[in-house]
């Protein structure tokens, strides 16, 4: 009875998540988008008159942070406890979506959109295809020995505790919250001037990776087939 209930719960949770999350994401995105006015593109003048402070500070930001931070954390723990890879990928979608909303909350609208497109739309699909291509049944599971599980959880909890201790006791420089985060025009200008070399290196790396992945994943290899 207990196991049946648990299976049902297991089946129910990702379904709810995948239905509810896009709706919530849209609401979050619309809320954030209303906060940012499309002002003076490329004028280069910093704009600090407090117009865009619709979500920064106050109770609304706190509530949104706790909702979506909770989503991120719950989905991350879901990835930890689920045994099946497809379930893990579903929970990972929750984490990625929640992190995107946190980016919107932090005023990084461009990054939020990129997170949704590249991670949720690209990387996650890639992972799911990887699961489908590398398992005979989609519910592939490999058991971890209980001892290793205990050691791993102790190590992770210790890591979290020590990180938190360090973060809380550290002396941070005076924090001044910028009014509207970084505008996209400023961001793009910075990317193509100060960070031009890393940008170009990243584009060449993407080309190399594309060729390498296509080569590695080729269906039948002519010359090196006999090696194994």
């Amino acid at each position: 009875m207990v196991s049946k209930g648990r299976t049902k719960l297991n089946r129910l949770l990702p379904t709810c998540l995948s239905l509810v999350l896009p709706a919530v994401l849209m609401c979050g995105g619309i809320t954030m988008a209303q906060g940012t006015t499309p002002d003076a593109m490329g004028s280069g003048v910093p704009h600090f008159d407090g117009v865009q402070k619709s979500v920064s500070g106050g109770i609304v930001e706190a509530i949104l942070f706790y909702i979506f931070g909770g989503t991120v954390l719950a989905a991350a723990i879901g990835v930890c406890v689920s045994k099946r890879v497809v379930r893990m990928a579903t929970w990972l979608f929750g984490t990625l979506g929640g992190v995107a909303v946190l980016y919107f909350l932090l005023g990084a609208n461009y990054l939020g959109v990129i997170q949704l497109i590249v991670y949720a739309g690209g990387t996650l699909i890639l992972l799911v295809f990887g699961v489908m291509l590398t398992s005979k049944s989609p519910w592939v599971r490999f058991e971890c020995p209980r001892g290793e599980m205990v050691v791993a959880s102790v190590v992770s909890i210790l890591l979290f505790a020590s990180l938190t201790t360090v973060l809380v006791t550290a002396e941070w420089p005076a924090q001044s919250q910028s009014a509207d985060g970084v505008r996209i025009a400023e961001f793009g200008k910075e990317l193509l001037t100060t960070y031009l070399v890393p940008f170009e290196v990243a584009s060449v790396m993407l080309l190399v990776v594309m060729i390498a992945a296509a080569y590695l994943a080729r269906q039948d290899r002519d010359d090196s087939e006999g090696a194994n």
Binding site: V118, F129, L167, W172, V182, A202, M210
Partner: protein, 106 residues
């Protein structure tokens, strides 16, 4: 640390929790794709840190967001190559259990 006034610390602690979850996933899953999912969790935790530092102006300009963009690019590239390697592993060993991939073990 005030509970209702969200600051840098809240984001950092959330990122630390997600990071620990990622480390746990990387160390307990035997499935190569599962390990990849753990790596994605860790990279997301790092990205939360970058963007939070950027927002609360510990570093100036938009360096944090640009670093986060590069992390996303690297993560996407890494996932593509890793999935291709997993497919090769599956082709050769008929499993993606990482414990079975010990052909180079001395």
């Amino acid at each position: 640390m005030p509970l209702l006034e969200i600051g840098l610390m809240h984001y950092l602690i959330l990122a630390a929790a997600v990071f620990s979850c990622g480390v746990f996933v990387m160390s307990t899953k035997r499935n190569a794709i599962g390990i990849l999912i753990g790596i994605e969790l860790v990279l997301n935790a790092v990205n939360i840190n970058f963007v939070a530092f950027d927002r609360y102006q510990v570093v100036g300009g938009c360096d944090g967001q640009i670093s986060a963009v590069f992390v996303i690019v690297i993560a996407a590239a890494e996932a593509a190559v890793a999935v291709a390697i997993c497919m090769n592993l599956y082709k050769n060993l008929n499993t993606i259990d990482v414990d079975r991939g010990d052909s180079l073990h001395g």
